[in-house]
Amino acid sequence: MNELLLVLPPLIFALGGVVLLMVDLAIPRERKSLTAGMAAVVSAAAALCAILQWGLAGSGFQGMISVDGVALALDALVGVIGVMTIGLSLRYNALRGILRGEFFVLMLFSLSGMALIGHAANLLTIFLAIELLSIPLYVLSGIARPRLDSEESAMKYFLLGAFASGFLVFGMALVYGATGQLSLTGIARTLITSTSVPLLVVGAALMLVGLGFKVAAAPFHMWTPDVYQGAPTTVTAFMSTATKAAGFVALLRVFGVALGDLANVWQPAFAALSALTMMIGNLGALTQINLKRMLAYSSIAHAGYLLMGLAAGGVSGVRGVVFYLPAYAAASLAAFAAMTAAHNGEEDQSISAYAGLSRTRPGWALVMAVAMLSLLGIPPTAGFVGKYMLFQSAIDVGLVPLAVIGVLTSVVSGYYYLRVIVTMYFEAPPEGVAVTKGNRLSLHWVTGAIAAAASIVLGILPAPLINAVTAGVTSIR
């Protein structure tokens, strides 16, 4: 019984999903918002549970499962992201005709996989958790079928996701061969005495490729723009925030916990990936005229900033990563919220469609502006604090060139983030768009406003979260 406490948040997601799958059968087609409400309750309960468990540390299930501060932080983060995505889904999915019960059930299953990653203490658990998060997402990105873009997005995500899983498993097999261990702490223990270093290094590299795909790090990012663009926007919002967080925690567990003593080998690789990802993400975003596609490239760029924290390593680097994940999630959710709100019915994804939004939808224009500023990293937003922590951690360990690339690419990113703001505030709205003075108080609006407010509050008062994150990071086991 005590052991179950160690996996309580992922367990709540999984059990909630199973129960909801059956309950949903009894809910008539036109009342699926009820399913959404129940899924939101499950998600909130898991997040709350993680917060109440704060400080818990230990391992169980024959060393398959462990719990520490980072695991609980991830549980809480993905739980909150789950609630907010459901908040956005009600209106958007109804407009697109995809307000189905499965949508929310699949989301809960995916969330359980994400949460489980933080609790994984064994390569086997990590593999299962990653598949548990991915497989429902393949279906979710194709849920708007028979729309071509959604089907295409699902197909591409599936093929490349499965391809990446192949690399991950083969890498795990080689690491197992080199150490004779599957548990993360066991690998860490035998790492020093291992006689087959080449096997170990190749295995680690293959795992890096596999996980690099999942977090959309260049050069394994090719799927990201198409998948993000084609998937329903609420799914994209979910993917870009929660999946990224889970992927980075997986990297942290495999490379930080298990292969920590091999850091002199993999840290340069992380630094190189980080530099490449920042450049490709930010340069790719420059030329986009489709807002969703631009946000996809922006998501790649942010994977680069986050990799910088892992390349720097140590408490300060990891702390930067764990702080930046919610900061990025808040800004990203606010951007996608504004994007889904700005149009009724068929959404127009081109940036020019947002011209004059400050006059037609002033509230949403403000949310979008805050999101862009936070993604850009302008004070006083959370994005600024997060980037500052990441760049500082890189400089502390002597990775000055990497930090310089980070700053330069951030300057470049100003062009495409600010272009959205300029379009919204200084261009005339297209003909025939109704002007809505003030926003009706809807669930959608509340969700967007909370995400934008979180971006600012975390920027002005980051100390409580930084302290909590530091405590969490020092408890990694």
Binding site: E131, I135, E151, G177, G230
Partner: protein, 100 residues
């Protein structure tokens, strides 16, 4: 008893064949089969290493990989069927409605 190296080299070859096929083939079903080959190469390596270390852990891992592969097949084939219904092709080069 055969040396583990033989199995690992064979697994590596299978993995490479799978990876190259997945990258070069344009038919979704062929790509999917190639990915399955990659997973099975990993399975072979896991079993070989489990024998080398005289443990069951590696063999246990294989069961989970097979289960996960089965669920991936279910989702993957469903997607392929769904795409085939809407455009009568399983060629991934036909999936180009998005650009940029």
């Amino acid at each position: 008893m055969l040396e583990t190296n033989y199995f690992v080299v064979l697994a590596g070859l299978l993995f490479a064949i799978g990876a190259v096929t997945a990258l070069t083939r344009r038919n979704a079903i062929m790509m999917f089969m190639a990915i399955e080959l990659m997973l099975n190469a990993a399975n072979l390596a896991l079993v070989a290493f489990a024998r080398q270390w005289q443990q069951l852990d590696g063999q246990l891992f294989v069961f989970f990989v097979m289960t996960v592969a089965a669920s991936e097949v279910a989702v993957g084939l469903a997607l392929i069927v769904s795409i085939f219904k809407s455009r009568s092709s399983t060629d991934v080069d036909d999936l180009h409605s998005m650009k940029g």
